[in-house]
């Protein structure tokens, strides 16, 4: 049975849209300890013995099942590194929901560094959703440094939705992917920073097999004094197609450095990058004002649409 306090329940709602214990497999981690686990006939979750973390085994052919692995931290000063490995069996079709919420009311920094590795077998389809959220008015920083590695066997596909909208002071995200023939990777990143937050997001995608493709799209908003760096690199080692896009809004004194890079090592590689950074268009605000919103409300609507 999962026992979570009110703060932890609120964090879980924020990061996983969960109001209750979910159906299917799950592993709840709260303040560095296991708070609940459920396995199914097709999905097994085993704690690692050599270090902190879990192995998730999804049997070949598993269809329409989900795995939730939320992490919540409400203790100030807690720092942890967790290693989670996902083994996704051949021809399975699953949804994996991860996410980390930190509530830090204290003065010491709280930090969660999650290292996720995905080993996706032939023909498997994965949808991966990850949300990060921070709250608490303490002076202690809320730090999240996720590392995601994706290894894809032939004709598999992975869709990643990664969202960090609020409250995380510092984040350094590294995502690496290796794709074999016929694989498809789609990444949708949503990021908003405010205050004096700092966020770095780095992608290193290698299209190794023929007819592999990747689409890495980031939309971000930098407000107040916050700083962001988006560094996406797609390497084409085969007959492949890759697209990376960084579309950003800057406000107040926010700054964004976008470094999209393409490395074509095969004459049949087709790679495209796009990057656009700018403030909210004045005529968009004006239009919403003619519908009765004030300037601040108009900005909020534009941003929430942009990050949807």
């Amino acid at each position: 049975m999962v026992k979570l306090d009110e703060i932890q329940k609120r964090l879980i709602e924020e990061i996983a849209d969960l109001h209750n214990v979910p159906d299917g497999a799950y592993n709840f981690r709260a303040n560095g300890e296991l708070a609940g686990r459920n396995t199914t006939a097709n999905i097994d979750i085993v704690s690692k013995t050599d270090k902190s973390g879990i192995d998730i085994h999804i049997k070949p052919g598993t269809k329409k099942e989900s795995v939730h692995i939320p992490v919540v931290i409400s203790e100030t000063g807690l720092k942890e590194t967790v290693y989670n490995d996902f083994y996704v069996g051949k021809d399975s079709d699953v949804v994996i929901v991860a996410g980390c919420g930190i509530d830090n009311c204290g003065v010491q920094d709280s930090e969660h560094d999650g290292v996720h590795r995905f080993f996706i077998e032939e023909g498997a389809k994965v949808r991966y959703v990850e949300k990060h959220y921070g709250s608490g008015d303490g002076k202690g920083q809320r730090i999240l440094n996720p590392v995601t590695e994706v290894y894809m066997e032939e004709n598999s596909s992975m869709e990643m939705e990664m969202e960090q909208i609020k409250g995380v002071d510092s984040t350094e995200r590294i995502t690496k992917a290796e794709l074999k023939a016929g694989c498809r990777l789609v990444v949708k990143e949503r990021l908003m920073t405010h205050g004096s937050q700092h966020a770095v997001s780095t992608y290193d995608v290698n299209l190794n097999g023929d007819d592999s493709s990747a689409d890495v799209v980031s939309r971000s908003v930098a407000r107040d004094e916050s700083k962001q760096v988006f560094n996406a690199r797609i390497t084409g080692n085969s007959k492949c197609s890759g697209h990376t896009e960084c579309d950003s809004i800057i406000m107040d004194h926010g700054t964004i450095l976008a470094i999209p890079s393409l490395d074509a090592k095969n004459v049949d590689a087709m790679l495209v990058h796009e990057a656009a950074i700018g403030k909210i268009a004045g005529d968009q605000i004006m239009k919403l004002m003619t519908l009765g919103l004030d300037e601040k409300e108009a900005e909020e609507q534009i941003i929430s649409g942009f990050l949807r």
């Binding site: 005529d283 239009k287 004002m289 003619t290 519908l291 009765g292 919103l293 534009i302 649409g305």
Partner: protein
């Protein structure tokens, strides 16, 4: 009722003052459908923007329902009951048609309510409510969605700036139908349309001819068309036909 009293508007261009609107007086009573026409550059769009508060007059007063709104900003005027359909609808990233209709209505809308506004403007609603208001929509679709937002707002005064501009013929037939319907259903509200199109002018109770920043004629469509000869105007518009 809307009343413009002695409104002037000028801009600085190349160090020179240029008068766009000159000592203009105008009245639009409740329940009236008024069309404003005139050659390009005569100040029609500026006039609409002055009423919405997007531009502020250099001098003169704007009275709406007995209240002086000259110093109110766009939001305040919108909340008093003025709405404005842009000549070139604004595009957004991520904002969907149903989001814009919800903002316009000022309340939560069910999907079927949102759909009813889209059906009014001849769009197959289910296909559109979830669409983003971006470049994937055609000019005609954007225009009709723009009109749907005004239907959702249901304000006392609705301003349309060249609703026919940039739409195809098929959409145009629909547009006429929409305005005919609005004309028939108009009660205490007022509609002001800036247009070059004869068929729209013919629906109006009164047509105002704006020329060089002044209203030079007013009357029924036929009367105005009789005096339109000799005015420079764009090809295809009604005044060019009369030349």
């Amino acid at each position: 009722m809307l009343e413009l009293k002695n409104i002037s508007f000028s801009v600085e261009a190349d160090g020179q003052k240029k008068d766009i609107i000159k000592n203009l007086d105008m009245k639009a009573d409740d329940g009236k459908f008024i069309a404003i026409t005139g050659p390009n550059g005569s100040g029609k769009s500026t006039l609409a923007k002055l009423i919405m508060g997007i531009e502020k007059p250099s001098s003169g007063r704007i009275i709406f329902d007995g209240e002086d709104i000259t110093d109110l900003d766009i939001t305040e005027r919108a909340r008093k009951g003025i709405s404005f359909a842009f000549q070139q609808p604004i595009k957004f990233k991520g904002i969907r048609v149903k989001d814009l209709l919800r903002i316009a209505a000022g309340k939560r809308l069910s999907t079927s309510e949102a759909c009813s506004y889209l059906s009014e403007v001849g769009l197959c609603a289910r296909d559109y409510v979830e669409r983003e208001i971006n470049s994937s929509l055609s000019g005609g679709e954007l225009k009709r969605i723009e009109i749907a937002t005004l239907l959702a707002r249901q304000t006392k005064l609705s301003l349309f700036d060249e609703p026919e501009a940039g739409i195809d013929l098929w959409s145009f037939q629909n547009l006429i139908r929409i305005f005919e319907k609005m004309r028939n259903e108009i009660k205490d509200s007022t509609i002001i349309i800036i247009s070059h199109q004869e068929r729209i002018l013919r629906i109006a109770d009164e047509v105002l001819l704006l020329s060089d920043g002044r209203i030079t004629e007013k009357g029924k469509a036929d009367e105005i068309m009789n005096v339109l000869g000799g005015i420079d105007c764009e090809p295809g518009s009604l005044c060019s036909k009369l030349q």
